[in-house]
């Protein structure tokens, strides 16, 4: 592996972005070309990633080199440098692999859109930023990518910018992410204050050797890791900053698949896995685990009542991300990242199939207006079913392996967390199959003219689906067979510290319980929804609460957004700025003018009045001089 390889890997999507971005005008007439340029750029990255992977897999030492000095001074040095180890290559393969398939899919999906070239430019830029995020050998590089993917997310969510809801969602995503970045930045500062560097290798070494400055006393690392976790919460949509992700579904569906399911939102998990050493030392994993499991449960409950396909998938993503945090939180870093990988495939697959459904149904998202699509869209149906089975934990499909590992590790940490996780697994299976039964089975409830046009998607779309379906089904079995002795654990062994919670209990027993719970969820969904559509109106208070997503958006709006807006407008601007400060300034001016107005009366314009005052002056001066001088 060489620096050149990494540079090519990284720069290919950037070149794609520049071509599509700058020459977009000339490419407009030939949109296929533009799409294939984008896909080709990612394909090059994919090939490079595979080379890098084989190199790491063959046991090469982790690659860690600096490209150039970025922000440097006598006391600080932040470089553009790359680190490629097992964790990086896993992420690289997910990003470029899923990314490439989604680029190809998009060529068909975005067909005819006026912003075609812009779309591919953004998508390439995203891949570039995401690659920086995972390739960086220091936290600042990670932050650069972190912000970069946030920007692309903003641009792509608001891709259809004449839709206000889309641009609102984009803005919301960016701003909520910024709140997380605030934590990330401060975390970085704390780390630098303590270690004098942000490079992973030297920082982790120093941390393990306990050789750093305790800027906040004993809790230095605790504070640093928690601040970093704030960043992860923002980016990976955990409680309380998850609100942007469901709205992000306003973007084109392939974007949701790539950015808001497979890659960007998992950046938080990647970051914590990357910082595993610090979290182990600081013992802050428990916080991560609790936030994760609560988010998983919370989001799953909301997903139960939604009727919008993409929103269900979005809440499902939030929920699954919660699982990943649960995994890395309880010290099962490899399992958390493993779930990240499997999730990237099956959730990406499900989003793409949802896109396929939308494509067929004239962009309809409400599943109450669907039903019976199985017959007309067989490939879509089957691929979706595979994805759903995978996420529901159906035995031997990919989700089964990764989720089970996480739950198993959670048991070792805290039985309560395990139970919540298990309940969530049940809910997951239930809402996923609710979606399947309502959408693909039963009678068609679509408008007749829409229904008549329903068709299977073109090959450029269904081929990526089919390809994605394979890993979704099998990757768990291939990489995860053998639990903690599996290939995946073996491969990533050098990256993560030894887990401190040794999983206990019978592995097979846990697998059995998980399977039963998953199957129960599916069965329950079948009982309720295989024949009838969900009712339109919430029937009871709990249902209403869930359907309105616990009113979180409304609460945030009332407690944070509006007070800031109104306070800024009325108190700060109108009162303080225009009233008080300008009031003082203008007041001084008014006083001077008032005094001037009085003095002005002396200027009568009458020469004699002036002479009188002059003579008065002479008299007084003389008097003073003569009689008192």
């Amino acid at each position: 592996m060489s620096l050149e390889l990494i540079v090519v890997l990284l720069v290919a999507p950037l070149v794609g972005f520049l071509i599509n971005g700058l020459l977009g005008k000339w490419l407009k007439g030939n949109e296929k070309l533009s799409g294939w340029i984008g896909a080709l750029a990612v394909l090059i990255s994919l090939i490079c990633s595979i080379i890098a992977f084989t190199s790491v897999h063959s046991g090469a030492t982790p690659f860690d080199e600096t490209l150039y000095e970025w922000i440097t001074g006598e006391t600080f040095a932040f470089n553009i440098g790359f680190r490629v180890d097992a964790l990086t290559t896993v992420m690289l393969l997910v990003i470029t692999g899923v990314g490439f398939l989604i680029h190809v899919y998009s060529i068909g999906y975005m067909h005819g859109d006026p912003g075609y070239t812009r779309y591919f430019a953004y998508l390439n830029l995203f891949v570039f930023a995401m690659l920086i995020l995972v390739l960086g050998n220091n936290y600042l590089m990670m932050f650069v990518g972190w912000e970069g993917v946030g920007l692309c997310s903003y641009l792509l969510i608001g891709f259809w910018y004449d839709k206000k809801s889309a641009t609102d969602a984009g803005k919301k995503a960016f701003i909520v992410n910024r709140i997380g970045d605030f934590g990330f930045l401060l975390g970085m500062f704390t780390l630098f204050a303590a270690f004098g560097t942000l490079d992973f290798a030297s920082l982790f070494d120093a941390a393990e050797a306990d050789n750093f400055q305790k800027v906040f006393g004993a809790s230095t690392l605790v504070i640093a890791t928690l601040l970093l976790f704030v960043g992860a919460i923002g980016k990976s949509a955990q409680i309380p900053l998850y609100v942007w992700l469901p709205d992000a579904m306003e973007g084109p569906t392939p974007v949701s698949a790539l950015i808001h399911a497979a890659t960007m939102v998992t950046a938080g998990v990647y970051m914590i896995a990357r910082s595993a050493v610090l979290y182990e030392l600081a013992h802050t994993g428990e916080v991560v685990a609790w936030i994760g499991v609560l988010t998983a449960f919370f989001a799953a409950t909301i997903a139960l009542t939604q009727n919008d396909i993409k929103r269900i998938l979005a809440y499902s993503t939030v929920s699954q991300l919660g699982y990943m945090f649960l995994g890395v939180g309880v010290g099962a870093y490899a399992s958390g990242v493993f779930h990240l990988v499997t999730h990237a495939f099956f959730k990406g697959l499900m989003f793409l199939t949802a896109g396929s459904v939308m494509h067929a149904m004239a962009n309809e998202l409400d599943m109450r207006k669907m039903g019976g699509l199985r017959a007309k869209m067989p490939i879509t149906h089957w691929t979706f079913l595979i994805g759903a089975l995978a996420i529901a934990g159906f035995p031997f499909l990919s989700g089964f392996w990764s989720k089970d590992e996480i739950l198993h590790s959670a048991w070792g940490s805290s039985p309560i967390i395990y139970v919540i996780g298990l309940v969530t697994a049940f809910l997951t299976a239930f809402y996923m199959f609710r979606l399947i039964f309502v959408t693909f089975y039963g009678e068609s409830r679509a408008d007749p003219d829409v229904a008549s046009h329903v068709h299977e998607s073109p090959p450029v779309m269904w081929i990526p689906l089919a390809i994605l379906a394979i890993p979704s089904a099998l990757i768990g079995l291939l990489l995860g067979w053998g639990g903690h002795e599996s290939w995946f654990h073996h491969f990533t062994k050098g990256v993560f510290p030894e887990a401190h919670h040794e999983a206990s209990g019978n592995v097979l027993l846990f697998m059995a319980i998980s399977s039963v719970v998953g199957l129960a969820g599916i069965a329950f969904a079948w009982m309720r929804y295989s024949k009838r559509a969900p009712s339109d109106e919430p029937t009871n208070a709990l249902h209403k609460l869930l359907a309105n997503k616990y009113y979180i958006d409304e609460i945030y709006n009332a407690l944070i957004v509006q007070p800031i807006k109104n306070g800024s407008h009325f108190i700060l601007w109108q009162l303080v700025d225009n009233g008080i400060i300008d009031g003082i300034v203008n007041g001084v001016a008014a006083i001077i003018r008032f005094i001037g107005g009085i003095l002005r009366r002396l200027q009568t314009g009458l020469v004699q009045a002036y002479i009188v005052s002059m003579v008065l002056g002479i008299v007084l001066f003389l008097a003073y001089y003569l009689f008192f001088g």
């Binding site: 200027q603 009568t604 314009g605 009458l606 020469v607 004699q608 002479i611 009188v612 003579v615």
Partner: protein
Amino acid sequence: MELQYYLILSALLFTTGVIGVLIRRNAIIIFMCIELMLNAANLAFVAISRSLGEATGQVFVFFVMTVAAAEVAIGLAIIVSVFKHRQTINVDEVNSLKG
């Protein structure tokens, strides 16, 4: 005669001129009052010149008279042109200087 009597007389004449300038509004009379004040000064000059026994004071009187002549000429010309514009020479009606 004692010098101081001349000086007292000079002071009184001068003050009379000042009062005239202050209370009269006719520009021509004000001018006359100014001449009065100049003359009062001349008187003092001459008196002191005599008291000191030298002619310098009288030379100064000569200068004062020249200046006074010039001043009167200009002043009266101004009065004439002001009158042509405003039909008045009352100084309180000429108040363009009012602030």
